[in-house]
């Protein structure tokens, strides 16, 4: 019976061609293969985001009732706390997985010719994911969400001339209010997914087109000594096993440490002590804080320019790395690129930890 249905479908959809293709495709197998799974793990968390986000949409109300609807989801709807907690936790885990994926790609030098567009589309996806995080953070409209968004929206204001206009357009007025929630909501559930999905499709196509890059130590070996495994079923099974681990980690985090809902945002209430952004914005936050301590008074604006300009320039240079280290023949540039990667990784980690130590 099952075989008959499969044959019926195969005749019309060509399913066996896909399986035959997947069996022919191979994935390199070496001691750094572990790092190949992080793109897939990020994709898994993205799928969880889509599913749990759609479920939240069944109750969430943007606009003046935003806080109350999230309160209802968290405390009244059956298992609403779990769905919301899964959405928040998988958002954080997705960003963590993306950072691990990005650095492993960087150190494996998978940005080199012909994979430049894989690198750029990946960075764009990371950037969009962070905007997803920022826009989603406001939607419950509790105290933390309100102030985190307020601080975040102050940053574009430092751009000379257009800054204030941009902030007001994004905010939908001079202050954060229900119009802001409405705008962040449409950004979060319509505009960003519309941008994200085609870029994700391009990214996955490019991975398929160019295959997995191999680290230099593997590339140095003669072809006959390099090992590989079939994508189907071997790599896919391992990939799915990683997804299962990711699912279990998510289930444990979401149920054991449910995401909290703070008091309702009140624009007249003072900002709570020790307020800080989510961990993935902590390094920027800390850099601005440190610069703010060095450049005080009239010079404060110089500090802000230095901080924001520094991060922007760093990001641009990071994206341009394929032009600097473009092939495996250049030993010196390859080494320098690795040092740049290490410096970026250590820098981000130090600033983030320093930020948390400073807050506590």
């Amino acid at each position: 019976m099952g075989t008959t249905v499969l044959d019926w479908l195969d005749e019309r959809l060509g399913l066996k061609d896909i399986v035959a293709f997947a069996k022919k495709k191979t994935v390199p197998d070496h001691k750094y293969s572990f790092w190949y799974y992080w793109g897939g793990i990020s994709l898994f968390f993205f799928i969880v985001q889509v599913v749990s986000g759609i479920l939240l949409l069944m109750y969430y109300q943007p606009g003046p009732n935003a806080y109350d609807s999230v309160r209802q989801i968290t405390y009244e709807v059956d298992f609403g706390w779990l769905i919301r907690s899964a959405h928040s936790w998988s958002a954080n885990l997705m960003i963590l997985a993306l950072f691990i994926h990005m650095f492993s790609v960087f150190f494996m030098k998978a940005y080199r010719r012909p994979r430049e567009f894989g690198w750029w589309s990946g960075l764009t996806l990371l950037g969009l994911t962070m905007v997803f995080g920022f826009s989603g953070y406001l939607l419950p409209m509790d105290e933390l969400a309100y102030f985190a968004t307020k601080v975040g929206l102050e940053l574009p204001k430092t751009l000379p001339g257009v800054g204030a206009v941009i902030t007001e357009l994004v905010q939908g007025g001079p202050e954060i209010g229900s119009t802001t929630i409405q705008r962040f909501f449409s950004l979060h559930v319509v505009i960003l997914p519309l941008l994200y999905i085609p870029i994700l499709a391009l990214h996955l196509w490019l991975v398929q087109k160019h295959g997995n890059a191999i680290p230099e130590s593997e590339a140095a070996k003669p072809e006959s000594e390099r090992r590989s495994i079939p994508f189907f079923p071997n790599f896919l099974t391992k990939d799915l096993a990683m997804w299962l681990i990711a699912l279990n980690v998510l289930a444990i985090m979401a149920s054991m440490f449910p995401w909290q809902l703070g008091p309702q945002a009140d624009s007249l209430a003072p900002a709570p002590e020790g307020i800080h952004p989510e961990w993935y914005f902590m390094s920027q936050f800390q850099a601005l804080k440190v610069l703010g301590e060095v450049f005080t008074g009239k010079l404060a604006i110089v500090g802000e320019y230095l901080g924001i300009g520094g991060f922007t320039l760093g990001g641009i240079l990071w994206a341009l790395i394929p032009f600097y280290d473009h092939d495996s023949k250049n030993g010196r540039r390859a080494r320098n690129a690795t040092y740049i990667g290490l410096a970026a990784l250590v820098g981000l980690m130090v600033l983030t930890i320093w930020g948390y130590v400073g807050v506590s």
Binding site: M58, E76, V77, D78, F79, L82, I83, L247
Partner: protein, 160 residues
């Protein structure tokens, strides 16, 4: 299905070994556990309002204060739990109450005093204004009646 059975006497024949069967059964069982562990909270999450409405619908009576009662020859629409309900005050002073949902396809019906009937605009169903009996058009059943208890302060509507 007999060709699928493993026969040790014919090692070359295609079939399912005990180990293969156990692995598949195990994977299926674990998969089913996961599906249940994730499916159940999602089902309960989506069904949550249904439970709230079921609680609302479980009431047995609705009091209507005297001042809300419509004048003779008119009707009051209100909710009995979640259901639209119609209290008709007839010209002769008597009061009747019906579930106001058409028994044909669920539209809300209306009282038409000049036509002396209860009418559904969707497909032209007509009911008797005194008994709720279906008298013309597609409705298969009469409207469900409610008991009306009149006291000095209020009108009490109860399930019949």
């Amino acid at each position: 299905m007999s060709d699928k059975r493993h026969d040790p006497a014919e090692p070359g024949k295609k079939g399912v070994s005990r180990r293969e069967f156990a692995t598949k059964a195990g994977v299926t069982a674990v998969g089913a556990c996961y599906a249940a562990a994730f499916g159940y909270p999602i089902f309960r999450y989506l069904a949550s309002p249904a439970r709230t409405y079921a609680e609302m619908a479980a009431i047995t009576e609705v009091p209507i204060p005297r001042e809300k009662v419509p004048g003779p020859g008119s009707a009051l629409m209100f909710r009995f739990g979640t259901r639209p309900t119609m209290l008709i005050h007839h010209e002769d002073g008597s009061m009747v109450c019906f579930d106001a949902v058409c028994t044909h396809l669920g539209c809300t019906v209306q009282f038409q005093p000049e036509e002396k009937r209860i009418h559904c605009a969707c497909h032209g169903g007509t009911y008797d204004m005194n008994t709720g009996k279906n008298i013309a058009g597609p409705p298969p059943k009469p409207l469900t009646p409610y008991q009306v208890e009149v006291t000095d302060e209020q009108i009490l509507i109860k399930r019949a």
